[in-house]
Structure formats: structure tokens, C-alpha cells
Symmetry: D2
């Protein structure tokens, strides 16, 4: 398995399991000279931390990041940036009840089929704790993008059947509720839905939307490393994602060409603009200078405490009831993960784009 590497110019490799010593990431390819400190990373990690509301797991991990290399006197040096978060809540437990059972909706069976061995203490490598490494690296990518005036912002678009209404959209609300919803009213409805889910020992899914502003036209590499294709992979690699869209997404499949084409026009300042943005900021896999808009659909949390039918390693049909710490919905905590994966992708393609063309200025900056 060499699938723990992401990116080309801005490349990361992650490691860690839910019940091992910790999780971490090394970034290889961050340009030198970027101001960086642990607080930059911690801010992002705190946004995905469990135990922030009664709808997220109560695991009281500190999730404190340590930068191990690559930063000197407050700046990146061009050397790899290694970061680690120790697992602190590794209570010894009796796993005998679940170690041989394949939980429905989880990767237990697939891991056994693939590797012939599985870390049965929780999700192991497929645990949501793995996303800590993504978020830590994403925080660095976001800092780099910020240097170039690029801003990545994600939020919960819907929880189950409860959606943010466009007319009530208020980004400032996002950080005021347990669901990261930019709509106070929708958040209240989501809370009601969650109460029902918890009472019913059930769970819900939802949709995360992410917007990237400030991306110049020209980012993305035809034909396979298109910006949208890379974003699709980045976001789809997050556990529980089952759908991905850019701009109008599936709605575009039912639209007319005359509606869906975004007309270009000249802005007074001489820049090229589009009157609409059905394309979500990407044409032919290359950014067009508009805001990039993407959405990811998350399935309901597979860990539910009601009884389910399944099988075990011995080939027996068994019933299982999953106890322990589980979010009735993963979407709120996934918001910052989507932001991180988006930032990593844009940063990587931004750096790759530096080699798109020769020009006079570059002659002096080989």
C-alpha cells in the first residue's frame, strides 16, 4: 500500500491509526520562507476536535500538534515539515466482542480481505482520526494559499433532509452552532433531527459545500490532473463521501446549453469576468478566475447502536450492536476536512502551474 501519499509539488504522506501511538503527516514541497507556527495548525485541528457538542463523540483527546521539522526561526526552510499528534485516550479495553466481527458500512471486511490482518481496536487506519493528518497538512496549505490571497471556506450545506436556505445564508453563523451551518434556523432544525436520530439509535448524513475565492485563472493541468478531477479525488478520499459536484453538478445534466454556459464579459478594470457561475469556477479543468464551488455528499455514520445483522471472521452470521463513542452525524466535523483537502489540492496545482509557461520574468528567476 502506497496510497498514503497525496500531491505532487506540494506532497504529503500521512500515517497513524485510531488506537496506535498517534497520527501524523510529513509535507514535502512547501516553499521556503512561509511564516508558520504550531498555532496556525492548532486552529484548524481545534475545528475538527471531537467532544465539542453532544452530537459529536465525547472522546476527550487534546489533539495537540507538534511540528517536528522544517520550520526554523518561524519560517519554513524548504525541508520537509513533519507534524504529529499523539493519541492520548488509549484506554485499555476488551475488544473480544468486536475483534472478529465485520461491522456493516465499515471497511473491516475489506481490510481483512486486502491485508489478511487488521487492527481491530476501532477503525485502525480507516478511523476518522486519520483525518487529523489531513487537517494539519491542510492548515499549512491554507497558509500558503493565504500568501497568494486565496481563501478556502467550507460549511455544512445540509444534514439529512435539513438544508441551508440561500436567503438565510450567513457565514458568520457557521461557527456559532454545533453543525457548522451558515443558517441559524437550519441549525435548529438539524438539532431536532439529531435528537430523533439519537433516540432511534440511528444516524444521518449530509452535504458539505466549499468555496475557494481568489484563485487566478489558469490553475489545473490538462488532461488528467484537471483542477476539478484533482478536487474530486481529494474530497472523495475522505471517508464516507459518496458524491461530489462542481458548480451546478448533477443539476447541469438536466439543464440546456444556453442556460448552463456562463457568458464572459469585460470588467471595467479590464479583467475577464463571467455573468453567472454554473461552471463553479472551472472550465476544461482549469480555473477561470471565478469562485470555485464544490459539494460533497456524506453517507450516514455507519456506527449505530441499534442491532444489525452481519458476519464474523469465522464465516458465521451474527448480530451486532455497536457501543462506544460515535457521532450520529459526521458532517459537522468533516467541514474542516473538506477545507483541508481542497486547500491541499489547490496549493499543489498552484505550484505546478508555475511551470506552465516561459516568460520574461522567469528568465531571471530560474
Amino acid at each position: 500500500m502506497a496510497g498514503s501519499t497525496f500531491g505532487t509539488a506540494f506532497r504529503i504522506m500521512t500515517w497513524g491509526e485510531s488506537h496506535g501511538k498517534g497520527v501524523g503527516v510529513t509535507i514535502d514541497g512547501c516553499p521556503a520562507g512561509l511564516p508558520l507556527c504550531e498555532a496556525d495548525i492548532q486552529e484548524y485541528l481545534d475545528r475538527r476536535k471531537p467532544g465539542q457538542s453532544r452530537y459529536t463523540t465525547a472522546r476527550s483527546e487534546g489533539d495537540v500538534v507538534e511540528i517536528l521539522s522544517g520550520v526554523f526561526e518561524g519560517q519554513t526552510t524548504g525541508a520537509p515539515i513533519a507534524m504529529m499528534v499523539r493519541n492520548t485516550d488509549q484506554r485499555s479495553r476488551d475488544y473480544s466482542a468486536i475483534m472478529d466481527v465485520y461491522r456493516p458500512g465499515h471497511a473491516d471486511y475489506c481490510f481483512d480481505a486486502k491485508y489478511g490482518i487488521r487492527d481491530y481496536r476501532g477503525g485502525g487506519r480507516s478511523s476518522a482520526r486519520e483525518t487529523i493528518a489531513r487537517v494539519a497538512a491542510g492548515a499549512v496549505a491554507a497558509k500558503l494559499l493565504g500568501y497568494y490571497g486565496i481563501q478556502v471556506t467550507a460549511y455544512t450545506k445540509s444534514i439529512g433532509t435539513v438544508s441551508v436556505e440561500q436567503e438565510r445564508f450567513d457565514l458568520a453563523e457557521r461557527d456559532k452552532n454545533a453543525f457548522n451551518m451558515p443558517d441559524a434556523s437550519a441549525a435548529l432544525q438539524a438539532a431536532e433531527l439529531m435528537e430523533k436520530m439519537m433516540a432511534a439509535q440511528d444516524s444521518a448524513g449530509g452535504v458539505v459545500e466549499c468555496r475557494v475565492s481568489g484563485v487566478p485563472a489558469g490553475i489545473g493541468e490538462p488532461v488528467f490532473d484537471k483542477l476539478d478531477a484533482c478536487l474530486a479525488k481529494a474530497v472523495f478520499s475522505i471517508g464516507a463521501v459518496k458524491g461530489f459536484e462542481i458548480g451546478d453538478g448533477f443539476k447541469a445534466a438536466r439543464a440546456l446549453g444556453s442556460e448552463n454556459n456562463d457568458p464572459f464579459y469585460m470588467e471595467e478594470d479590464g479583467s475577464v469576468k463571467k455573468r453567472t457561475n454554473h461552471a463553479g469556477g472551472i472550465l476544461g479543468g482549469i480555473s477561470d478566475g471565478s469562485e470555485i464551488v464544490l459539494r460533497a455528499a456524506f453517507k450516514p455514520t455507519p456506527s449505530i447502536s441499534r442491532q444489525q445483522s452481519t458476519v464474523n471472521r469465522n464465516g458465521e452470521n451474527v448480530e451486532i450492536s455497536i457501543q462506544g463513542r460515535h457521532d450520529p452525524v459526521v458532517v459537522p466535523r468533516a467541514v474542516v476536512v473538506v477545507e483541508a483537502m481542497t486547500a491541499l489540492t489547490v496549493a499543489d496545482l498552484l505550484l505546478q502551474n508555475r511551470n506552465a509557461k516561459l516568460d520574461a520574468a522567469e528568465g531571471s528567476n530560474i
Copy 2:
């Protein structure tokens, strides 16, 4: 730009523009010993060929493939397999009307922003002719998968607002109508819709669905090169794709965990099976042995002959009316392209998976 490479173990590099000398692909990493001939490739290319119905462009390219290397005495040798299709329909034209204009919904502006230069004779590198290379390589991947009993099958799921009905689904119908729809009745409705589009100088989009059977459990590399993540990138790299789903996709975001989890059970033959397949054959990014199901949403063809507002290279607002050969819907011809990209992805991860674990048998087959 180094984005014309796809895959790791089964790797391809493509080249070519719509109005250049031709398009081609080199496959690096196809195992030796696979029976292969040009007819294997041609069969796939013929499925994407233009000019097959009045709803696809009339360009009468032969699209005849030539295998240039890597095959000896009817078998692959392990050496790179280079293939080429010459462009035969390169009529000299007057491009002065369009060479400086940025067509709405196309990548013209983005290419100019990125490279500072653009092959203005048609789409250049962003033309749909580029997919010939994908299909040729995909045909080889499909042959390799066939050796392992894996079958990839795509078809049109919907054209605009016309959808295939599950109860009328008949795969045999797919190849009998101009829309590659496995539903004769839907195909008739689609034909009516197309007549309207052509009369209105407009265009439509649609959805392609693809199924992969015979994939053993265990394919896909956690955590970034998950099978679904790689499929998402593969399919999203096809021009005009705006959405992608696995299994229930966006519908899963509105489902309950208790509905969405697929219960495992033991088959009489001792194999692990699932009672439902909401997951679309993938759990935690690894195949679970069920059929893989994916869908891609295509936007309407951006080339429409009705007048549109846009800008040109000189920074002027202009009106444009696109003449020439254009499909009012790209979906039917995209079916085999989705199949190709799916086959390439599964083949690549299948080979990568050979290194997932040590076992006794491998000791003798280093």
C-alpha cells in the same frame, strides 16, 4: 504541464490535439503475456466514433488505430504499448472568425490564461478527440481485466430530463439506439428531445452509469488512493463532467444509517455477501466484492449555434455564433469513455494490490 499521465502501476501518457497530426497514447506497465491485437482496440474506438447518428457530429474520421510497439506475436511483451490514431479530416479552414474569441462554456480563455498560447483550430488539447487516447488505452485495460474475470459496462442513464426506467432496463437495447440507452422507450423520448434541441439551436446534458462486476474484495489503496477516490478523479477528468457518485451517492446524504448500511451475510458457498448494495461495492475505499456502481453527470454541450455574448483576446465584448460539427449532446459518445477510464482505474489498482500482503504463494513468485 505534466497532467497527461494517468495511473501508477498501469500508467498511460496521452498526446494529441483535434487539428494536429493525430492523437495517441503509450501504456507503460501492462504485464507481459496478454493476448492483444488492433481489433481489440478498434472495437472500443468504433463505439466512440462520431458520425454514427444524426445526433453526433458528422466528422467522418476513420479513427483507425495503429499499435506501434509492445506487442509481439500477438502478445504483450511488458514493453510500453504505443498506439496512434491519425487525424484524417484536417480541412484547411479560415479560423480568423474564432481564433481570438473565448467561447462560453469552453476552456479557450483558461488555456490562454495558463499557457499564453492556444491552438485555436477547434478545441486543441481540450477537444473531445483527446478521448480517443483514453479509449484506446481503456480497451487494453478492459482486456487485462477480462483475463481476471472482471467486466466493465457503461450506458446512458439519462439525457436531459429523460431517464432510463429501472423496470424497462435491458442492456441489450443499449447498442440498438443512438443514445446508448438500455431502455428502448427512453431512447425514443430522447430522440424527441434532441429534435427540439436542434431546432432550438440548443444542447442537453445527461448522466452515464457504469457497473463493474467480478472485482474481488480488497482493491483500492487507503487512504488517498481509495478505489472510489481514484474512480472519481478518472471520471471527472473527462471533459464536461460536473458530478460523480458511487452507489446511492447524493441520495445517501438524506438516508438513515440503518437504511444505508448493507448487512453482510454468509453465502452457501462460504463467501461473504451483502444483502443490499447502497455502498456501490466500495467500503472505506476498498472493493467489498459486490458490483461497483458509479454515475457521472455531464453538462450540456457548450458549443451551440445560437448567438451568445462573450469576449475576445483584445478585451472586447463580442457576440458569437458557433458553427461547425457539434453534438447536441455528448453523453452517448461519452459512455465508452467512462468505461475506459473506469477500466484503467480498476486495472491500475488491481496491479497495485498485488503488493498488499506477503503470503506463502508469493514466496515462490517474487
Copy 3:
């Protein structure tokens, strides 16, 4: 086998066998805006062409290159640059005498062991004709380096026991003799040696030296993609290379630190210079602004017409006498191949280096 790809930012994939339809290469990652035409490539190919003297094989291939994509109106567009050279001298032959025999010093046995199948018509993929693709790509890399004022120059340093003498070194002589030796007197001695070799049905090896001027300080990526490490791989991937050195090379292993360290000093123009260049222009894997100097040792041509003992596919001990077209020394024709591989490596790392640091200028040229 996915080993036919070289480079990261400036990436090539090559294909072709000695007796197939041709050989070719696709370059993915050449920046847009570079003036390029077929004559730029042909000039390099002509330097490696066989049949130029009685010491190189008489195969009368035209070796005419065709650029298939990536160039428009005399400039690179950023799209992949595909190039092909058709094999024209594919006389039908009787291979029955050699098809099952493993030639000593050749890769026949290894290919069979690896792939279970081998193109027995000549060297197949391991033929020297494969280097045509390297040279074609290297010509483009050299053109790109020339844009930045970087010049790559290789020549024959020795043939068997005959060496170029430093005091007689005259680069202008290189192109005037059959051995590409920058020393007329050494070339005469080499000619005498070759006559002996041909009379004795034997062959000789030699050393190629290559110098790169104009490389700015800072090129090379610690710690694994050091400039010298990448050059070592690039040059060692050429068939018949058995040794590689940078600067003083093996001689440095016997030197004292006080001798081997090159003292820095300030040039009048304010630049940092070194008084000596034992390091061959690279310190810590990064260019130091001095001339880069490397050497490659080539073994004697393994194809000799005198009788040799070996085995065949049936596991029998047999005698073999290799007939046909073979150079008694490969070194003269390898000179341009070393130049090509060096150019490809420096070009790749030059582009990669654009992402080494942030700076003010880059803020405006993302």
C-alpha cells in the same frame, strides 16, 4: 513494467523496439512558449545516427523525426510533445539461429526471466535504438536549457586504453573524427585500436565526459533527488554504463580533505566563486554555480563475432557467433545520449526548483 517514464516536472515516456514499427517519446511538462521545430530534434538525432564511419554499424536508417503534437505555429503550447522515428530498415530475416540463444553480455536471458516472452529480433526493447527516443527528448530539454543560458557538452574521454590528453584538449576537434574525441591525436590512436579490435573480432569500451555550464546555484532537491543522484540514475540508465562519477569521482576517495575542499571567494562582480572545482559543480546535491562535470564508463560492446559459450532457452550449453551490424565500440554514438540524459535531468530539476521558495516576484506570478 512502468520504467519507461523519466522525470517529474519535465517528464518523458518512451516506447519502441529495434525491429518494431519505430521508436518514440512523449514529453509531458515542457513549458509553453518555447520555439521548437523538427530541425532542432533532427540535429541531435543525426549525431547518434549509425553508419557514419566504419566503426559504427552500417544500418542505413534515415532516423527522421516527426513531431506529432504539442507544437503550434513554431512554439510549444504546453501540451504533450509526441515525437516518432519510424524504423525503415526492417528486412525480413531468418532469426531461427538466435531466437532461442542467450547472448553473453546481453539482456536476453534477463528479459525472458522477467517477462516470459522476448522480442528476439535483435535487442527488442534493450536495443540501442531505444536511445533515439532519449535523444529526441533531450534535444527539447537542451533547447529549453539554452533559453536559460545553460549549455550541455559531452565528448569521448577515452576509448579502451586511449585517453584524451588535457593539454591537447580542443572541443572543435570533437566533431571532426569518428570517435567524438576532442583531441586529434587520441582519435588517431583510437582508430588504430579499432582496426585491431575488428581484426580480432573483439570490441572495446570507453569513457564519456559531460560538462554543463551556466547552471545557477540552487538546482537539485535534497535529499533523494539531489542533482548528482538524478544525473547518476539518468546516465546509468543508458545501456552498457558500468560506472559514473561527478567531479574528481573515485579519485576523491584517495584525496585529503584539505585538497578536495574547493575554497570559496568573492568575485569582483559580487558573485560567489570557487578557486577549484574538485566537486564538479555540486555540493550537498545542489548546484554551486560552477561547471558541472560528470563521467560515465561504458563496457565493451557485448556483440562480438568471435565464438562464445552460452546457453539457450532449452537449457542446453551452446556456442554462438554473433553476426550482423554491431559497433566495435559504442562510446562515440553514446556521447549525444549522455548529453541528452544530462539535459533532461537538469531541465527537470530546473523546473522543480521554481517552487523552492516564496518571494516577492512570485507573488505576482503565481
Copy 4:
């Protein structure tokens, strides 16, 4: 900079500086099921530890490795294996004397030229401490190779002008002297030489030789990822290496083809063998089943305490005398590093080779 990644199927990413928090490595792609514990790694690290003799630096680091992930119940799980060694000897110092000076023979100037910033506390990323990460990863690779019966063994071949004599070669001696020389007499002479070097405030270089036994025929990927090419890069990426050879190396350039070709013959057991091994076990870039033999030339330690001329960041000519912990010869400690890089390379290509061909057995082991 993304140069801290090595390998494709068995891939590592390293991090760390000499005076930072530590050094580490993550392995992505080690097959599941390999028995592994920290003692396996520590054994290799102890072989490169400083302070083992008066000829190596007195830095009393413990260099104790911690496995952070990827191992469960004594076996690899297929998940990334992260390992870390904390730096324990980070005494606070006054670096003002050296922080602005470019040491001759070191990469100080190159790092500043490349990154615009440099960790001036010792070598930073270019310190020999970086090799701890290589050795830790190499220990895992060696364990994997051992599973397949492959053994990697390196030793000091020469120190300055003192060489191991073939007739006195005794591998058992290697671990009994401070120089890792498999020749007791040569080790005594080397000790005398070192005394002279230390008295003269000077340093010496040397040659490391490495042998790999048990490699089956067929390992190595034509044409760029040849086994010898990959070994060349792997070994050349170690600091201070200036030359690399396979088999007869540079000597082959002066040999005759009739001498240099290794005749094949049939062994009684039906296997193909070679009567000699001038090729060093590799033909056409693919292992031929013989022992692989390689050599690396190391330059003298650049850090010498005698006064040297150089320049500083302010563009001034200055004199420098390097104090502190420095080996008068790096070769003995480099032995295990060469072994590690060789093991990493062979392991990577061994895994890659699993995809060389289809065969009956593989049909059942996709």
C-alpha cells in the same frame, strides 16, 4: 522541495534536521504480514551510531527508534510505518561565529542560494544525521528481503590509500574494527592513517563495497528504472558520494568485449549460471541471478579543523576553522547507509516486478 521521497512500490518519506527535534521516516507500501519490531530497526541504527570509536564523532546520541504506526501484534498491517528518533543532544550554543559563513565542501552556500534561508545550527537538512531515517527504513527493507532469501552486505573497501586485499578478505573481521573493514591488516593501516589525519587536522575519503545475494533473475524495470540506474541514484543520494560502479565499473571501460562478457552455462540443477561476474549481477538493467556487486566512492570529510579560506553571507572573504564533532573519515559509518539504500532499492524493484507478467498462478492471486 519534494525530494525527500524515495521509491515507488516501497516508498519512503524522510524528515528532520541535525539540530531540530529529531529525524524520522514513514514507509508507505510495505506489504502486510511481515514480522517487525523496534529491535529490528535498532540493530541497524546502532551500526551507524556516532561515538563508537575515536575516529567517529563523540556525539553521544542515544538514537533510539520509536515505531509510531503500521505494526500491530508484531506484524506489519499494510498501513504506513512511521518511525522517529528524537535528537537528544541539542545543547544550546553560540552559533554567531559560523551562522553566516559558507563552509568549503559543504552545502551551506547552495542551501542559501536555493531556499533563501538556512538552518545554520550544524548541517540542518544536509547533516549526516539525516541518514538515520534512511537506515531505519532500510532495516525494514532488509527484513522484507530476508523473507525472500535476499541478503545485503556492505563493508569498507578502502580508506584513503589503504585498501582491503582480496586474499585477506574475511567478512567476520568487518565488525571487529573501527573501520568496518573485512581485513584486519588493512584496518591497522587505516588506524595509522587516521592518526596522521587527526594530527594534521585533515580528513580522508574511501570506498564502500556492497554485495547482494539471493536476488532472482528478472528484477529491474527497463529502460529508465533499471536496477543499476536505481541503485546509482540511491547510493549517490548519500552525502559525500562522488562515484558509483557496478561490477567491474570503470575497469570495464578498458577491457575487451571477449574478456568482459560473462559466459552463461547450465548448472547441474538446471539453472542458468555465469562463469564470471564482470557484470556485477546486472545485464540490461535487470538482475541476472548472480551476486550484485556495487561500489561507492566517498570524498574526504569536508569539516576539517585547519584554517580554510571562504566567504560569508555578506559577500566578504573570510578565514574559517571548523570546530566541533566531526569524523576524520565518514566511510565506516556510511557502510550501513549504503546497505540501507541498496536494500530499499532492491525491495522496491522486487515489489514492482510482481506485475511484470501474467501467469497461471497469478490468476488466482489477483
